[in-house]
């Protein structure tokens, strides 16, 4: 009996340890926010929405960043804002790069670029925040935050309009596929989605009503097709996200090198900043996501 105890103990220990080892492998995964957002990118309309939303988020931070620099220059003349200005210069380049992605391209390429650019946007924002917070007394940060983040809507109105239309097109596209799988045709419903007459919960309610009117056999067939479609999309996005993790660090270095080359010659400040950022990334090596 004693001969088998070590074997038994090893088997039990393995049950406890293996899940932990597998969990460690997932540390290099794409962050949850980006993964959830990428769900919608299986088709071009959804990819269009996500890319425009990312462009908007960058644009919004550029507008707010400029206001923060103005505030610093008004209240703390001796504070060196050159690094903050360089970050905004890089954000401008980044915004342009996002706008140049073709949402109708290969899903894996589009998702990978989205993950890369979203990471850059978050990293630049975090670096800006860490520097900007040292320019003001800690007790004033809330008041300044409120002042600089107000009234950005006007500056973003054009891109917001494009996002609104893209969301309606994405939702209509998703419902069109759903209706095809149900063997139904509801042009009226699709038009109401495109015209913005239904929000997402209203759309869900309407499509459920269409489904309820079907026979049991039609329901079974429709559910089979819808499940197959959902699985196929999920597998494609999962594969794209897994690929986005591969060689992330190498791609990041290449992106910054390209920005150094693209930056306007008159902006020596931004060029110097990008060079120093590149050096820091190369020194850091290892994990990036």
């Amino acid at each position: 009996m004693k001969r088998f105890m070590p074997l038994f103990a090893f088997a039990m220990l393995s049950l406890l340890v293996v899940p932990g080892v597998l969990a460690q492998d997932s540390e290099d995964a794409v962050p949850d926010d980006a993964s959830n957002e990428a769900r919608a990118m299986a088709a071009a309309p959804g990819a269009t929405v996500r890319l425009l939303q990312l462009e908007e988020a960058i644009e919004r931070n550029i507008v707010i960043g400029e206001r923060i620099i103005d505030r610093i220059q008004e209240s703390n003349e001796s504070f060196d804002v050159s690094e903050l200005e360089s970050i905004l210069d890089e954000m401008e380049l980044l915004k342009q790069e996002v706008s140049e992605v073709d949402p109708e391209g290969n899903t894996e390429d589009v998702v990978r670029q989205f993950v890369d650019f979203r990471h850059d946007a978050s990293e630049l924002s975090r670096t800006f925040r860490e520097i900007a917070r040292t320019a003001f007394p800690a007790g004033e940060l809330n008041r300044i935050r409120e002042n600089v983040t107000g009234n950005v809507e006007q500056a973003l109105s054009r891109i917001r309009e494009r996002i609104r239309n893209a969301i309606r097109e994405h939702n209509a596209d998703r419902i069109r596929t759903c209706l095809q799988n149900m063997g139904a045709s509801e042009e009226g419903l699709l038009n109401r989605i495109r015209n913005g007459q239904l929000n997402s919960s209203g759309i869900g309610e309407q499509i459920r009503n269409v489904f309820q009117d079907m026979s049991a056999e039609q329901k079974r067939d429709a559910l089979t097709r819808m499940s197959r479609n959902a699985t196929s999309n999920a597998v494609r996005i999962r594969s794209a996200l897994d690929n986005a993790v591969e060689q992330f660090q190498e791609r990041k270095t290449e992106r910054i090198q390209e920005r150094v080359e693209r930056i306007n010659a008159s902006s020596a400040r931004a060029q110097a900043y990008l060079q120093s950022r590149l050096e820091r990334i190369n020194q850091a090596g290892g994990r990036a996501l």
Binding site: A11, D33, L54, A57, S125, R129, I163, N171, S227
Partner: protein, 66 residues
Amino acid sequence: MKGKALLVLLMLAAVVVASGCIQETPTMDGNGDGGEDIETQQEAVFSDLDSDLIDESETIEIGELI
């Protein structure tokens, strides 16, 4: 005696492993038409669809600047 104890331990280990591996099989609703299966599948499919739809108020957050 030792053999029986070993057998009990092995069965216990098998139960522990099996409980982690076996998935609950879907049940019928009792009238033989698989109605509960359809309802379960329907809920999963439409819940998935809800997640795919995007609300116009949704935005991407990349972090504050201050």
